[in-house]
Symmetry: C2
C-alpha cells in the first residue's frame, strides 16, 4: 500500500520538500481493515490519528441503553478517531469501525508530536484541518436546531453524495439524529412528492 495519496492531501494545504515527504511517509503505519472490523474500541485510550486512504469508516458513541450514535463518517482523504482520548490520554467514548473494506494510515501519537515539532508546516496543516472541521461541526449543531429532519437529510445527501454507496440508511439516520423508521417515512414522502 503506498502513502502518496496522503502526501498529495497535505500538499493541498502546505508545501513539503523531498526530505520532509520521505520522513512523513515513514512514520505512518498502513493498515487494511475488512468491513465490520474495528480500528479503535471505546473504553481504550486512542493511540493513533486515523487517516482513510480508501473505503469508509464510521466513528460512533454507544449510550447507556446500548444505542449507537454516529459522530462522523470518513471516506478517502478524511481523518477520524477520538481527538480527546488521544490528546489527553483518557479512555475513548467512541469506537471506529470499517463500513467497507478500507485502507487506513495510522499516525501514532508520538509521531504526530514529532512531526509537529520538526516541521512547522505540519502544525499549520493540522491547524487548518481542525479549523475547517470546526466550521463543519458548528454548522451541524445549528442545523440540528434550526432545520427539520427532512431538510437535514436532503442537505446531507447534497453534501456527501459519495457516502450513499457505503453507508446503510440506519447509520445516516443516526448521524442525522433520527430513527431509521422515521428516515424511512421521510424518504417515502420525498419519493411521493415528485
Amino acid at each position: 500500500m503506498n502513502t502518496s495519496s496522503f502526501i498529495t492531501n497535505i500538499k493541498k494545504t502546505v508545501n513539503l520538500n523531498e526530505e520532509e515527504e520521505k520522513y512523513i511517509e515513514s512514520v505512518f503505519v498502513p493498515l487494511r481493515v475488512k468491513q465490520g472490523e474495528f480500528v479503535e474500541h471505546s473504553g481504550e485510550i486512542t493511540r493513533y490519528f486515523i487517516y482513510v486512504q480508501s473505503g469508509c469508516l464510521m466513528t460512533y458513541f454507544t449510550d447507556r441503553d446500548a444505542f449507537d450514535h454516529v459522530a462522523q463518517f470518513a471516506t478517502a482523504g478524511w481523518w477520524t478517531g477520538d481527538l480527546h482520548s488521544i490528546t489527553k490520554g483518557v479512555p475513548s467514548i467512541y469506537s471506529t469501525r470499517a463500513l467497507a473494506d478500507s485502507e487506513v494510515l495510522l499516525l501514532p501519537k508520538n509521531s504526530q508530536e514529532e512531526l509537529l515539532n520538526k516541521y512547522p508546516q505540519m502544525e499549520r496543516y493540522f491547524r487548518i484541518l481542525y479549523q475547517n472541521a470546526l466550521v463543519t461541526h458548528l454548522h451541524r449543531i445549528i442545523q440540528g436546531h434550526a432545520a427539520a429532519a427532512d431538510e437535514r437529510y436532503i442537505s446531507f445527501r447534497e453534501k456527501y453524495p459519495s457516502l450513499e454507496q457505503y453507508v446503510p440508511l440506519k447509520y445516516i439516520a443516526s448521524y442525522l439524529g433520527i430513527t431509521p423508521e422515521f428516515l424511512s417515512k421521510i424518504r417515502r414522502r420525498l419519493m411521493e412528492n415528485r
Copy 2:
C-alpha cells in the same frame, strides 16, 4: 484597558519571550461594548477574531423565520466569531452581540496571518485552541442526539456555572435546542423533585 490577561492565556499553552509578547499585544485592537451592542453582524464579512477579556458575548444564527439559534457563548478567556467567514472571506451567517458590558480584543485577519507566519508558537496555540473546541463541539452534537433536554440542561449548568449570571434563560434554551417554555417546564420539574 490592558491586554495582559490575553498573554497569560496564551502562555498556558505555549511559551513567549518578551519581544514576542510585546508584538502580540501590539496587534490587538481593544474595544468596549455595552450590553446589547453588536460586535459582528450577519451578512457582513467577518474581519476580526474576537477574544473576550471580560463580560459575555453570544454568537447566534437567525433562521428564515427570524428565530435566533445560539451557536456559542463566550466569557472571559474565550474566543468567538465566525471562523468560516473570516477565513474564506464570505459573508457571515452569524451575529455576535454583548450580553453584558464587555471588554474584547479584536485580532484583525491580517494580523493573525502575520502572527502565524512570524511565530510558530502562535500556529501551535491556535491548533490547540481549535483542537479543544472540536472536542467540545462533537460532544455537543452527540449529546444533542443521545440525551434528553433535561439532561442537557443539567450538564450545561454543571459545565458552565458562571454563565448563569449573564445569560437569560431563553438563550440557554436556544443553546440547548429547545424553546424557553419547555425549559421552564424542565426547571419546574427539577425544583419539585428535591
